[in-house]
Symmetry: D2
Subunit: 486 residues, 4 copies
């Protein structure tokens, strides 16, 4: 469970990062984008924007802080017209004056009007930004997406495709991009394929989204993923694909998308997310058997893993917490009378359930440890005799530089403590994790069109567990700089 | 599952009705009331209000449409001061001009300032209202609570307790009441005890709430229920109890509180709600065994019953739907392009789960049948081979006149169709209900201080199942009038 | 000039009190009422409301704090439909929780739905209110209008006219009333005729308003005044008049309407307001000649009197102050850095105009004296050699109990100081007032249909100048009670 | 009188253009800027912004649509801190999505953070913008101010002063600029000095503003104008001046600032505005004597000219119209029932004043003629026997390219019609204008420190009257292009 998903402001916990949706060729494009963003809301609750292209070729848009349904009032939605649109949901630090950081960015430059939405993080953004500023570029935002726009505007190319082919090799890191300009929508995925990006059809229209759950909602038919290193150009004539750079021999898809970030009803990296999580729970049961009366998840992130554990172990499954769905960022929490913890506002322990019971409690991961500790404490107060805490992933030890907003190292509990020390800190009777190998085993392809690149690491980035950042090599200095930017 | 809980405007489905919270003797009373209402939000999402009593004895308040966190901004909350407060959450028909119907009502009359919050429905409200208007009373709202206020104002009594003792015997139906006036807070429960009302302590303060989940959130210690026919007067000197009318020989507590309305982590009528629901699921399994691969709830109302079924039957439990927590009443649903059903916005079927599977799907009840039908349809489209639908309660055949806003008879599917006809309408492979006896069996007390009044009907109102309205007797005409008011 | 007209919150200065507008028989009634209220905005800037009667006979309305154009957004206005409407603008004390005091009040009682707007003050309101509360009445507002409604609801009459005929003789003081109920609109003026109320036609529709400027704006044709003691009933059949009480032998029309309250382009009490004020200026010139270089008004309340003075004296007229039209109640005036006086925000002295000049400065009246003092000070700082200050009315010595919100006696500068003491306080080189006789001379009728009742006091209330309250007689106690209510 | 000043959206009438205010060295800088902008509100009612520099050197700001008091709520104002600030009010086309055009613009570039506010129009903005886009610049706004920022960012200079010295010679047209960066505030005026810009002191702080009325409000002491071609750099050490380009031999100050745009209580171009306008009225009287009973202004723009006419002619001065001060852009004017003209909403003719009278009506200028025609019509309907209309300026025949948003030529009535044709169009009994020579005569310096450059045209731009654009020379094509941009 991630606090930040619900309660603001979060401080240093893991956060979702961004969701993308685009469509070209449907008269309802703005509204469908609204629905698509709504289904991707879990990927960013703090800002939402839509840019549409009208019949006259002009792009216009609306962006704002808050949830999709908060910003897009009927009046705002009605103003958006056209048969093409791209949309974006994002997390951002709190504060009204950061409205300018909400995407998609929409600018006017030598290539005409241009709108871009970005999911990921560029590791060489600061370097490029300094270089661009020295060459006279003006920055209005503090997000790395603006660096891409400046590079495009300065490419000297007349066609957006040529500009992209020139610029994309210069940017490094994680990027799934959606570009809308007069006449075209372009979907791009970085050579490692860190972040998901998918294609579908809705009648004659083409649709692009971060997760398949967006397709399911609007009734679009899933086609395929955008491949690592691929650029897909969609216009009124149809869809063309080109490889803007050779794909890396081995993709580096973010394992944490499967573990926590994606919605359980999405299919990500050709894996059904819920099935992956269920399998993680089964593997946990196999390697961490416990004598217990009940298995329960930390809702909702631990739900499927806990089910998997229950199924494999035969221990009875139950809901131990009731989640309050009305928590929003607007709940007023006065500092002077902090009588109620934020945990209690979200999760209420079910009474008359734990008395004298031995519990297995399962969450998807442990990042800082604070929430886990309070959960265990709450369960003990409710009468639990034993609390065995299991994480359906390996110890989270290294910050992510590819699009997940993790705390700095000193706040990652597993970066400094042994598993036994963590157990003690949490106050659990026992503590268990999956190994990297086990989590990759759960991610092993089961689909029929399975291919063979899934050998070593099966094409996943597990840098948050082992520190092997795919793009940074031995650049220790750069790592430190990235670290300091947090 | 109730649509109305999530999506507005609902049309004729079952709705929660009201939640009450009050506290006297804590300097943080307004904020604690805000938290209490927040935990009772499931009992009414369309209006919220708080009235506080300050040190100067003056009452003042704030009321508005929307969720607790929507109406009570920091600025509004800051204006409320005092060591006593009562609060109310309510459903109401949509429309900004109904703000005046939001409770607690606050008036000035011969008894001084008076604030009242009401959970329930008076069956003789219209009669009393006509009588009062003829005698010169002015009505500003369309809610029956105002009738009580007029009766109090005209009692000719000098003390609020005396006024209440005179007035309460005249009102008929379901009422849990909280009254705040200068110096006192008074909690009242009708002689049948239709609706819950409970007492607790927080330090030196006394707390009253509809459900225990409010006590749990603020850390108050549960004392006891307000008894049917009891009036509890709380002031700075402490708490005094009096019986304003003899309790009925047998209480008529609303069985639907246990089945659906209350939060699963509450203790209602001395029953742990989640345990009651789990037991209903077990009984279902006993009387409606099915050959199936998976048991799944309609979230969240069917969760515990489905668990109970799974536990008793040994069939594997799973989550078949992912619920979107960002649905609010603000989601824009344009009539012209209703491409996405409201069901789909709330519940997404988990992919790659149902293919060829035989499912047992469990909800708490079936009211109109529309949602159930769409759920079954969705599951079949997702590949389910068989869908067995079970309701963890008896057929809902009669409208409630005691505080639950049910559709008129013609929209209650079980009022007109046999179970087999309903099954056909829903498109289920089989359909099962509990009997009234079975649901009462599940409600049988298990607590140690069990008493003996639980013989006939065990003290529950089951009029929605059998039409035996406790207060209306043979008054057929009155029933029809109540019906016509919907 | 009145500060309160522009800057909020005012503290104890004179304030406008209320404006009424009503129309029956035009499909555009709500919008015409909106326009009518807009033209009466000077009579009340702090709250506005409209109640309309639709084709179905139902009344509905919208009320809110702020200016007419602030509360009535397009969305709110669009909701109001019907061919009849009454509207009200009012002053009120600041504070969002006083929204309930905004008129017209709309209630449901034995007479059906009833809406009332009131301009004036009842001197026996408190007495009646106590009596009504003792008899069980419930009050929601703190305004005396609600007393009238309770009396009507309790009249036991079936027809609204009969109820009014019974109730109106019981209320004492100043009241111009507009009543809207199903089928009828009724206009009423108290037996003394303190406040204006006028009738007009717009096509087939009848129109009622406080001042003729409302008729001019919508293009309605002025018919006549509602007479003191008259009740005019308007319905689809036309207009009927009845005298609910004998008119007093001599009306007591508020002289301050002419002096300050009404708009200069209105015709009030059959006098053109601007002409009255101009004449006051002429009389001032006659009785207070000054050796001076320039005559200037305190804008805008002194404009016409200053013109009259200039015309009669031959001294050059000029604008000495530029008024800032963007001042509103929203200007932020932080207490900690009160560098700029509120006077300066509204009025800027014109530079290079006063150097060495002798000025005659004319305002309509002097209430507390604070503004006048600051004006004189400002002019001296701007270089004026002499400042002669003239009020185009007599010394304001007694609080008004008939609808003008004046400060309590101790804040009325003329209640305690001689003219010489006031002059000294203001810092003027000389100070002059009109006498009561002079101001009544200016009010002498000039219209052709002049009648003969204008002998003694010419039918005007001048209690604010001489303390002879028409309705209070020798009831010193009552006066003190009214005083204490401020 | 200009409609656009009051009623939105205006269509093609003359509009104010922009106001600037800046201060460095006062702890109250943000609030003083708020007050300064408030006093300059007449120069732009549709958008307002403030950028402040805090103790940490960081700039931050707030901008929004609407009036100063509308956008700057207490919460927004409280967030602004620091001892230096610049502010801007502007007109803009209506529409929420143009918020990004509100100034001051705040960017990050190689020179660090930079905020710029601009009053005027660049005639070579489009040319520069095309050039910059070709070189890779990205534009977010449609205002020419952004061109200046791009040029600065690309200057390659390290110091803002050097960047400005390099860039300013490249821009052509009218520009008064205020720049705020870390450590400095810089005030700039174009070589022709089209728009005013002034310096003052407030204690130790330096203040800059478009008009002196801003100094008067906050109590600052006027120092001097920023000279044409001058750049004044203000920092903690004090004020330094440099000439960024040789001043033109003859300044081209906008004569329309004196005629209409500036507030009458301002001193502009070393002239007291009110005195200039009064003198225009006197000259009108001398050259256009009329047999008449009354002289009246079109309020408020004709006020001082009408006074001047009355003083010179001896004809009695009066107010013929009462102006409604509550008109705002929010007045709802439904297209379907346009019963009331927008003129009537603002100006009500005073009744019983015009019957049989011969009037001289004076406005500052005639642009499209629509308002003048309706005014004359209204006065005739009110009974006027003769209406003589006089404009206190020459015929307005050519669009302005230097910062005043005039209609295109075809909507300028004097561009196509002779004076006699205009008179006929307006329906006046006679029509008179000043000549260019007469208006320049009125502008002749009277201050003691008079200098000698006021020979030919006295250093004023009168292109709107004679088409002699100072900067465009014979470039007919460019004129047409500017024309087409409207």
């Amino acid at each position: 469970m991630r606090e930040s998903r619900i309660m603001k402001p979060s401080e240093g916990t893991l956060r979702d990062y961004c969701g993308l949706f685009g469509i070209l060729g449907d008269a309802d494009a703005p509204y469908l984008t609204y629905q698509g963003l709504y289904s991707l809301q879990h990927r960013g609750q703090e800002g939402a924007g839509i840019v549409t292209g009208g019949a006259d070729g002009r792009l216009s848009g609306s962006r704002g802080l808050g949830l999709v349904v908060e910003h897009f009032t009927e009046a705002r939605l009605r103003k958006l017209t056209g048969d093409r649109a791209i949309g974006h949901v994002r997390y951002s630090t709190v504060g009204a004056n950061h409205r300018r950081n909400v995407q998609p960015l929409l600018v006017q430059c030598a290539l005409g009007q241009l709108a871009i939405g970005h999911n990921g993080t560029l590791v060489n953004a600061l370097e490029l930004r300094n270089e661009l500023e020295s060459a006279g570029a003006i920055f209005r935002t503090s997000i790395d997406t603006e660096v891409i726009i400046h590079l495009l505007a300065r490419s000297g190319q007349a066609r957006i495709e040529d500009a992209l082919l020139q610029v994309l090799p210069r940017i490094d890191g994680a990027f799934s991009l959606l570009v809308l300009c007069q006449g075209k929508m372009i979907a791009i995925r970085d050579p490692y394929g860190f972040r998901p990006l998918k294609l579908a059809r809705l009648g004659k229209a083409f649709v692009v989204a971060s997760e398949t759950c967006a397709f399911d909602l609007i009734g679009a038919e899933y086609l395929r993923v955008v491949e690592p290193g691929e650029m897909v150009v969609i216009d009124d004539q149809g869809m063309r694909s080109m490889q803007f750079t050779p794909a890396k021999p081995e993709p580096k898809r973010c394992i944490f998308e499967l573990i926590y970030l994606a919605r359980p009803d999405s299919v990500i990296f050709d894996r059904a997310v819920h099935r992956f999580r269920h399998r993680c729970g089964q593997i946990l049961a196999q390697h961490h058997p416990r004598e217990a009366d009940l298995v329960m998840p930390v809702p909702d992130s631990g739900n499927f893993a806990a089910l998997g554990y229950a199924d494999a172990s035969g221990i009875r499954y139950t809901y131990g917490f009731i989640r309050n769905h009305y928590v929003g960022r607007t709940f007023i929490q006065p500092s002077q009378s902090q009588r109620v913890s934020s945990l209690k506002l979200k999760l209420s322990p079910v009474p008359q359930l734990f008395e004298g019971k031995r519990l297995v409690v399962i969450d998807d991961s442990i990042v800082r440890g604070n929430t886990s500790r309070r959960i265990i404490e709450t369960l003990r107060q409710a009468g639990a005799r034993e609390v065995h805490f299991l994480a359906a992933s390996p110890p989270y030890r290294f910050p992510c530089y590819y699009g997940v907003d993790t705390p700095i190292s000193k706040n990652l509990i597993a970066a400094h403590k042994s598993i036994e020390e963590i157990r003690e800190h949490l106050g659990a009777d026992s503590l268990g994790y999956l190994t990297i190998e086990q989590v990759l085993q759960a991610a092993r392809r089961e689909l029929k069109n399975e291919e063979d690149f899934d050998i070593h690491r099966q094409g996943f980035c597990v840098a948050c567990f082992d520190g092997s950042y795919p793009t940074l090599g031995e650049k220790v200095v750069e790592k430190e700089m990235l670290q300091s930017r947090r």
